[in-house]
Amino acid sequence: MAVVFERPHALTDKVFSYCPGCPHGIVHRLVAETIDELGIEDRTIGISPVGCSVTAYDFFACDMVEAAHGRAPAVATGIKRARPDNIVFTYQGDGDLAAIGMAETVHAATRGENITVIFINNAIYGMTGGQMAPTTLPGQITQTTPYGRDVKAAGYPIRVCELLSTLDGVALAQRVTVDSVKHVREAKKAIKRAFENQVNGRGYSIIEVVSACPTNWGLTPSEALCWLRDNMLPYYPLGVYKDAYPEEGGAKK
């Protein structure tokens, strides 16, 4: 009997701990498929963040390090400088990457650290129970913006890809989502390019995945995807924001 679908080798057999409808599982799978396809699991080192994906070290079959909140790019830098022949990726949420870890993010990017960053933007802090994130939309209700995010008091959301795209050290900054089969395929391509860039020594690549958090958004999984399309994507348009090596890849605007 022919096997037509199986768990990627780069994922362990540990059952995901994520909520129903959470896109973490999809993105984990895309990263693992990429690692399999490039044949790099034996030399890949991943860094898990603080947030819902904190235990990603149990799910990826490559060597893993768990970093302090926001410090994944610094930890990745230390590893990559010590072992430049290894493939190093971080997997971070919006609070981790764009709030507490913004300095580490910007400086790893501007140094052109030859690492791959997978950034999950779901506009909320999941693990701590639904507080405002740096990417929470204006007017969005969270536990700590109970009357909706008031931009006069809490400021505006940060568009990470746009911000990082101004930096010379960035090889690739692309925003994708995983709300449909078509978009999942595009996301896979983008993630693969971000890893290929590293294999080819191109420098810092970030793939922002506009994501959903049904649990903390207070919606069903399918409602959450609708909310994502109606509210997140207009504020966070999909596309390639920086591509320093367009001739090599399949990334299109």
Binding site: T12, E41, D42, R43, T44, I45, I47, V54, T55, Y57, D58, F60, A61, C62, D63, M64, V65, E66, A67, A68, R71, A74, V75, A76, T77, G78, I79, K80, R81, A82, R83, N86, I87, A103, E104, V106, H107
Partner: protein
Amino acid sequence: MAEKVLMKGNEALAEAAICAGCHHFFGYPITPQTELAAYMAKKMPKIGGTYLQAESELASINMVLGAAAAGVRAMTSTSSPGLSLMTEGISYMAGCDLPALIVNVQRGGPGLGGIQPSQADYYQATKATGHGDFQLIVLAPSTVQEMVDMVFLAFELGEKYRMPAMLFSDGLLGQMMEPVVLPEPGDIKTVEKPWAVTGHGGKRKHNIVNSLYLEPNLLEDTVRARYERYAEAQRTEQRCEEFMVDDAEIVLVAYGASSRICRSAVTTARQQGIKAGLIRPITVWPFPNDAIQKAASHAKAFLSVEMSMGQMVDDVRLALNGARPTYFYGRTGGMIPSPAEVLEEIKKIQEGK
């Protein structure tokens, strides 16, 4: 024997670290450790090593964590305010059982404090270098030569016990020049690091470097196992230098820069017929309790001398457990006690004032 050269403490330490096989340095500028980083910036590119000026001390220590997790000898250096920022990463390294070298060239505090020499970070180094139950190996050099020798010891002990190790210096030792013999390259004791993340190479299960244990019983077990290593270090790694302690009635306890001043004061006291002695902790963690307790058999009183408002004196008192009166003399804020001031304190104790 190699030739003696004149070097600043900070520069000698940097050269020694390179000799000890540390080819990865991450740091952020701060006075008075600047020469150390500058030396690394000059040397590392020539030997294919890493000198990286990070965006903050938070980033530097986490870069050290990453490099240490990858199994190489890595270090950072900073001064007091910077060390405060690093405490997060140091706690994580302790929780991940990662060895690395952290240099604190102490200056006056709290806050921005000052830039002159100080020993006011003793509590921070030995009691609470971050959140949670953990300890560091803390070595306190008192000469430029010790700045060199202790770099090797710090890496060796750190790797043996899988603990971060701190070289606990200060602005005086960092800035001063003394004759020093640099080590010959090639004499490095290293250990296997099967726990390091190097890529599993298809040959083993994946390694995970992690400090998170969501099950409290697992966290307790992990911490207890770590504390057994700490206990072993306390049994076997206490180090101190004794100067005229054998028949001393008044025993001074001082480390680092202040121990140099105490040595002069003890010498003068002896010339004046006062039986004074000095115990100089070389490891401030593990603290040399045994030497203090032994000295209590003949000493009438102890005097802790520090460039602080009195921090190590607590450990002297704990070691003595009330067996002998313990006094304190200190200057702080960057002021350095003079031998005459210390002698005055010795005389006060002698006269029972």
